[in-house]
Symmetry: C2
Subunit: 236 residues, 2 copies
């Protein structure tokens, strides 16, 4: 497939054809994705990614600004994939099927461990070590995905307002990130969970926990429109 | 106050009296707390803490295993302080005051930025770089705090089961950690939020968001006991 090679190594580097550049970017993203799924996002360095692609770190930095930008691109990609998955399951859903919505959201995150891992890293690390342009592009993608998910929820549950559907999606997504980290402990803690009954309560399973919280949120959105209790204390 | 000095510098180090040891530990914890509140937990290294206390890193490691253990101790302390704050506001609360419970939980986290920052770091980093004994001690403390908070909720809202009160507390605590990170962006993102109206939606405020989600959860716990919708799809 390679054509158009020009003379001189340096000129070759600069004149790399757009489709080759894209292919190399894809290689880098795929390497980062594979390593993050295997070892966890927190354990994957820029050097690990470069080594897996088989290029030098400095070469990798011609394609991405930082390690964090690579993972931010993967997060954007994961949000787009997530919202496509919601369409597959909710586009034909019967109106009023709140249980189905809760289940689809719980599984939508449960089936995407990399997205869940990345959600916790995004505000903590990924959005802090990239250029304004990169973080802006990422934010527009994630906002679009959350907005589209809220529209899907509202189409199934038309009694909710757009803001309520957005509140639901934002809360479940934040919880997915937080609960996934708790449900996937490191080796020391995993061993304690297995051996110490006193710690059993701390151990959570992602999908059942998310499904239950999603059910509670969907059941509470409308009743909580007017305050569930109007008094601030018992003294009148 | 110093008494009991023995001869020889090395012997002196080893024979440090218990109350001096405790005082030094407190100095270290206070330094870590001050730095984390000023710079964010993610930006505080072991060297920063040692430098603020005025001791060498190797001396600091006689008191704590790792940077992560120092922050895990601060997290345990913050959970105990948080549950004391809940007692202050809920011990005399009128039965049925769900709005008050939502407000107290939202402010309980809003008033404790260090606890919120630490919650996100705990499963991601802090629990992964300490000994089994340290993580076990921490878990027992955090479980006790969450359990005590759930009892307080149940005392005000006796229609809830213990498990439901625990679900409420766990969800609000996880969200407090996740939302705090979003509500406290780095300088690049803060500048974008201020300058770019398209990103306005991504900007959240911790206390109103937590209060609203807490209200929704409290309103939804009982109605969602039986599924809000029993069908999985429209086809029978």
């Amino acid at each position: 497939m390679y054509t158009g090679r020009v003379t001189g190594a340096e000129t070759f580097q600069r004149a790399r054809r757009p489709e080759q550049k894209l292919r190399r970017q894809d290689d880098i993203l795929r390497a980062a994705r594979d390593l993050a799924l295997r070892d966890g996002v927190r354990n994957v360095s820029l050097a690990d990614i470069a080594s897996r692609v088989g290029i030098h770190k400095s070469a990798l930095l011609r394609y991405f600004e930082t390690r964090e930008q690579i993972f931010l691109e993967l997060t954007a990609e994961a949000w787009r994939d997530w919202v496509r998955g919601l369409h597959d399951e909710l586009d034909q859903a019967r109106r009023g099927a709140a249980d189905l919505v809760a289940d689809v959201f719980a599984r939508g995150f449960g089936d995407r461990p990399l997205l869940c891992d990345l959600i916790a890293h995004t505000p903590l690390n990924l959005e802090r070590n990239v250029s304004p342009e990169a973080v802006r592009r990422y934010k527009l993608t994630s906002l679009a995905a959350v907005g589209e998910a809220a529209e899907l929820v509202q189409a199934v549950l038309p009694a909710l307002t757009v803001d309520e559907a957005l509140e639901f999606v934002a809360a479940v997504a934040s919880l997915a990130g937080a609960v996934w980290q708790i449900a996937n402990p490191g080796p020391v803690l995993a061993e304690l969970y297995a051996s110490d009954p006193a710690l059993g309560l701390a151990c959570v399973e992602l999908v059942p926990r998310l499904r239950r919280t999603a059910e509670i949120l969907l059941a509470g959105l409308i009743p909580s429109r007017t305050p569930v209790d109007s008094g601030e204390d018992g003294a009148q």
